[in-house]
């Protein structure tokens, strides 16, 4: 109902805001100036009912208990005043100073509703404020009202069986209905607004599928072709390979001199406006000679010990496994454009209110997996970042749903970074092979979901989902959200990429990489049928699977690729089923306990190799 927007308006702090219930899963707090003094403001998850069994209601109850002196600010959806008054009556029983904020007044007016605020305020005995928080209207009125906050002057004790929450809530709703009759009028407009009709189409059995197909095509075009294609090309080839890497190599050579000559490569690229995966309108073509990471030493003059040290540092920074030439360029040139485009699209989808409608569309499919349609939200969010999504599984009501969703996220839902790389790899294989990949991953999701749900027992969450109205996404909010997610993402991946590269570099220098390759040879070369060099990809894939995927992409592109199409498919399947990243593992441990996290790890990695190997052997038998 817009608590987070009100919170942002009052404190100026950036918070993630989306158009569906359950965006806020963690409590945010911020200090702010208020009526001359300073105050601390807490943003809680949303509740319809304080007595509910859900995680959100529990968190909110705890906050209420921890801060006995706090003023309560109830943010309500003005359209749904009756439901809001139910919560007001529950809060009134606490006898604490409070203010009722009626938010989304614009939507109420558009639907022909009117609320007599003064009368409502008199009946409840607390200040009532009207706001349109997304337009930052009414924020000052909230500030003034907080000073006038007082305990509700309403005599109401719900009758009914004390052990039956719903009976008391029915009594409260009856009282809310009486208040409503005195203060609320509704004259619905004859023609429903366009946004409402669009909302219906999005969940219609036929039109809904059409909307979904159009959206998928649009997302694929924007993220897969513009982001992972043109933008990555621009940043990786034109910026990094042609300009920044040579610059960095020269710079390092100047600081750490030892006699060597870098090889010069001719690098050409064409940036185009993509139309289909294979066609596009060329916009800009360039060819440049640039120096690469490979270099030659003078065989006549062996290096002194000091020069060897310089060479070691040189290779650490700009060598084959160099921090700048590998970690930074992978993170900034390949992953960054992909996640940026994805987060932009995702922000627009979130704000439009489409995602709950998607739940309606796929609820039955999810039922087959033993999940409820509500699990769509974490799953789709997982396409952005699995770690964030693991946290959002809290919106699910039963432990079984949370567990199965967490497992499926870790196993089979590729995050945006990896998805972009996989889409780029997909362009290297035939359409049939790409279909095999998609179908296989979906089949794995269904099979594993169904089995875990069976083994774990318990019940799936009830599918009772509130559908917010379709709204026009606001550019400002989408951008803010994209930036704060990118900030979080970069803070998290850059150190891990650098660490991963450093480990690879050290293993390479100590000769351990060859030892590991020899140990892993039966697994990678024998079972998966991949070149032994790709063991590196799986090795760093343990840390971040998208990093491993980038490595595989590197191996499958270029004039003389290391992998043939069949091997690309095998590698894609295996790396998709890897655990997303170390951060995700920690998040699972935090949310579900260490034991569960370990069990999941122990299942996921061997499972990924088993499935990958099966694809290899079956594929060879069938002759793909």
């Amino acid at each position: 109902v817009g608590k987070s927007v009100v919170f942002k308006n009052l404190t100026g702090q950036r918070v993630i805001i989306s158009n569906y219930p359950g965006t806020t899963v963690e409590v945010t707090r911020a200090r702010t100036r208020l009526n001359g003094g300073e105050a601390e403001l807490l943003d809680t998850p949303g509740v319809n009912d304080l007595a509910q069994r859900s995680e959100d209601a529990r968190v909110t109850r705890e906050i209420l208990a921890e801060h006995p002196g706090a003023v309560l600010l109830q943010v309500a959806d003005a359209k749904n005043l009756r439901r809001a008054l139910l919560l007001t009556l529950q809060l009134a029983e606490l006898r604490r100073p409070m203010v009722l904020v009626l938010n989304m007044m614009d939507e109420l007016w558009r639907r022909g509703g009117r609320i007599q605020v003064k009368k409502l305020s008199r009946i409840l005995g607390i200040p009532v404020v009207r706001t349109i928080a997304v337009h930052n209207s009414g924020t000052d009125r909230i500030r003034q009202a907080i000073a006038r906050a007082r305990p509700p002057q309403l005599e109401f004790r719900p009758q009914g069986d004390l052990t039956k929450a719903y009976e008391r809530n029915q009594a409260r709703l009856a009282r809310a209905g009486e208040i409503l009759a005195e203060t609320y009028t509704l004259v619905p407009p004859k023609q429903p607004p366009f946004s409402m009709r669009l909302g219906f189409w999005a969940m219609h059995p036929f039109k809904g599928l059409l909307v979904l197909a159009l959206l998928l095509a649009a997302v694929f075009w924007f993220v897969g072709l513009v982001g992972a294609g043109s933008l990555v090309n621009l940043l990786e080839v034109n910026l990094f390979q042609q300009r920044l890497s040579p610059l960095a190599i020269r710079g390092v050579d100047a600081v750490l001199p030892f006699p060597h000559v870098h090889d010069v490569e001719r690098i050409s690229s064409t940036i185009s406006f993509p139309l289909t995966p294979a066609h596009g309108i060329p916009l800009y073509a360039s060819t440049r000679d640039a120096i690469g990471t490979a270099y030659e030493l003078d065989p006549a003059a062996p290096l002194t010990f000091w020069q060897e040290v310089l060479r070691f540092l040189h290779d650490f920074l700009v060598g084959e496994y160099g921090v700048i030439t590998m970690a930074v360029s992978y993170a900034l040139a390949i992953v960054l454009p992909i996640v940026t485009t994805f987060f932009l699209v995702f922000g627009v989808l979130e704000d439009s209110g489409y995602l709950p409608r998607l739940s309606i569309m796929v609820n039955r499919l999810f039922r087959m997996m033993g999940l409820s349609g509500k699990a769509v939200l974490p799953m789709v969010l997982g396409l952005g970042c699995d770690t964030m999504a693991t946290m959002t599984t809290r919106i699910l009501d039963t432990r079984r749903d949370r567990l199965v969703t967490t497992l499926l996220l870790a196993l089979a839902v590729p995050c945006s970074a990896q998805l972009g790389v996989l889409l780029a790899m997909m362009a290297r294989i035939s359409a049939a092979a790409a279909t095999v990949w998609v179908v296989l991953i979906l089949a794995v999701m269904f099979a594993v979901g169904w089995l875990t749900a069976r083994i774990f027992g318990g019940e799936a969450s009830d599918f009772i989902l509130e559908i917010p109205p379709m709204r026009r996404p606001m550019l400002g909010n989408v951008l803010t959200k994209t930036f704060s997610r990118l900030e979080w993402y970069l803070k998290e991946i850059l150190p891990l990429f650098v660490l991963g590269t450093a480990i690879l570099f050290l293993l390479d220098r100590l000769g351990l990489l060859r030892v590991i390759a020899a140990i892993g040879r039966p697994l990678v070369a024998g079972w998966l049928g991949l070149p032994p060099e790709t063991i590196n990809a799986f090795l760093i894939g343990f840390m971040r699977r998208d990093f491993g995927a980038v490595y595989l992409l590197d191996a499958s592109t270029g004039p003389d690729p290391l992998l043939n199409p069949h091997q690309i498919l095998v590698a894609m399947v295996t790396i998709t089923l890897f655990m997303p990243c170390v951060a995700n593992l920690f998040m699972i441990a935090k949310e579900q306990g260490k034991k569960t996290a370990l069990a999941m790890t122990a299942f996921i990695f061997p499972f990924a190799f088993v499935v990958g190997g099966l694809v290899h052997h079956v594929g060879r038998l069938v002759g793909l």
Binding site: R83, N169, Q170, L173, I360, M361, G458, I464, L465
Partner: protein, 147 residues
């Protein structure tokens, strides 16, 4: 194998909770042999007699499986309405207390007028200005009267 209900009722505070939500201390030495459960809300521990619960539940279920004598002759389950029809809610039956409460706080109380917006791929109803997506299974437990 003894059939165990997924939801338990705390006799102390009346809250309904999931069995999986009632984990006790991990270090407890008698964990596997222990026959008591602990309420996550009030920490009251009570013995859970699986057999009697099953028995009670079976009885309960049988009583629920037979449609209740409709208090109104026109009472039908929501899933027999067609899309676009308006109906007055009579009662929520055949459901656990928590499900009933979830529906109640969304404004579904006896006497409320609801509109069935669509039946497929999922049921969508409209209560006041709230649109709710539901499973067929839940819609079957909502008894209404056409208006």
């Amino acid at each position: 194998m003894v059939e165990r209900p997924a939801y338990l009722h705390c006799p102390m505070c009346g809250i309904e909770f999931e069995r999986a939500g009632s984990v006790c201390e991990r270090s407890c030495p008698i964990s596997s042999a222990c026959k008591t459960v602990r309420c996550p809300a009030c920490d009251y521990e009570f013995p859970e007699d699986a057999r009697s619960v099953t028995w009670v539940r079976r009885l309960f279920r049988r009583r629920n499986a037979v449609p209740r004598p409709p208090m109104d002759e026109q009472a039908v389950a929501l899933d027999s309405l067609s899309a676009g029809e308006k109906a007055e809610l009579l009662e929520l039956s055949c459901m656990s207390g928590s499900r009933r409460n979830t529906l109640t706080v969304f404004g579904l109380t006896p006497g409320t007028v609801i509109t069935l917006l669509q039946r497929s791929p999922s049921f969508v109803i409209r209560v006041g200005e709230t649109e709710l997506g539901l499973d067929r299974e839940i819609a079957e437990g909502i008894y209404v009267k056409r208006v």
